[in-house]
Subunit: 210 residues, 2 copies
Amino acid sequence: MAKNISIQVIRRLPRYYRFLSELERAGVDKISSTKLSSVMSSTASQVRQDLNCFGGFGQQGYGYSVSSLKDEIGRILGLQHLHNAVLLGAGNMGRAIATHMNFEELGFRLVGIFEKDHRLIGTMLRGITVQSDEQLEGYLLEHEVDTAFLSLPKDSVEPLVEQLYRLGIRNYWNFSHFDIAKKYADTVVENVHMGDSLMTLCYRINENNR
Amino acid sequence: MAKNISIQVIRRLPRYYRFLSELERAGVDKISSTKLSSVMSSTASQVRQDLNCFGGFGQQGYGYSVSSLKDEIGRILGLQHLHNAVLLGAGNMGRAIATHMNFEELGFRLVGIFEKDHRLIGTMLRGITVQSDEQLEGYLLEHEVDTAFLSLPKDSVEPLVEQLYRLGIRNYWNFSHFDIAKKYADTVVENVHMGDSLMTLCYRINENNR
DNA sequence: TAGATTGTTAATCGATTAACAATC
DNA sequence: TAGATTGTTAATCGATTAACAATC
């Protein structure tokens, strides 16, 4: 049982999963750690170390079976059991998330969308009717939801997370700059900070041109 | 001149910048590394080490001036000089990016949007008319653009990057799964892989519930 | 069996943390 | 001056890489 896997290894798992899915689709049966590392722009050592955090999935002298390694990593990620999630905020970013992501392949099921702006309430996204944020509490009390996707500005997120936390939501996919984990220690928070990403790109462009 | 700053440090710079901007807005004049580290959920040592990669911005016995440290980090990131960028793909994600990001505060200026789908061509986003992808080459030849934002599916990105690279674009903000940096070694690529982010969240939720 | 490639231990490298002299 | 806090060197910690025995 997971002996404290480092976050670096965890963040590589989705990439292994993606590359193995591609190889499987391309009809590749087996792959060595050396070949897999070249696809990953990594080293064979790292591939073997990473995989052996979870078990010995290879066969000496042969390599790894693509499809069964892919399945193993999917299982390690926990993609087979879907978490019900609500999306808070149906603005531009919320709509992009709702329509763009294949949640069911990523471990989640989007079950409800909530929004403050009356012009958006009642519209449909991905077959889901956008509800008023006033209906959120009632909805959460009646449905099994454990995760919230937050695509609202920071100032709206702070009071919203208070409500969500009170209602038992502990897992957050957070696009805002509100620091959920600092205020609520027993939460699992995955931040997507696209502004930080752009600033990092800016730095690296300038660094590159020196 | 930047003595090979580690990517870990670089990725923390936008966070310093954000927190310092907040403190400045809140009217805070000075801050110690200890206080800044608690805002950052980091250590005082790390804050001082990070900052001293770029110079001694503090004053012994006093701490750091919030506004001038913020300015310094903005300058290090290179936010004062805007890079002209085109957005390729005006689907859901592209529209969210175009309308949602404050590019001018993040080191970029969005100057053109291009799309294949005829239903979207001619629509306006952020005051910019969406153009046909057939006009891309002509546009790039006539305008000074050094960066492309890619919000299209992987299969469209591969041939598109070939065209962009040929036209001299070396900097990419990439939302697709096409591995630009592997094929073109002299590019600067910042990937945003939201699917990977969700899978990581899934892993961590399950890990947390064990 | 011989060749290939894993699983795993050891060595290296680099990042984080601690300590403290310098100094405002 | 005394107190506070930096800048910087040294110590620690952990991640990556290398090496190689195990084994298919």
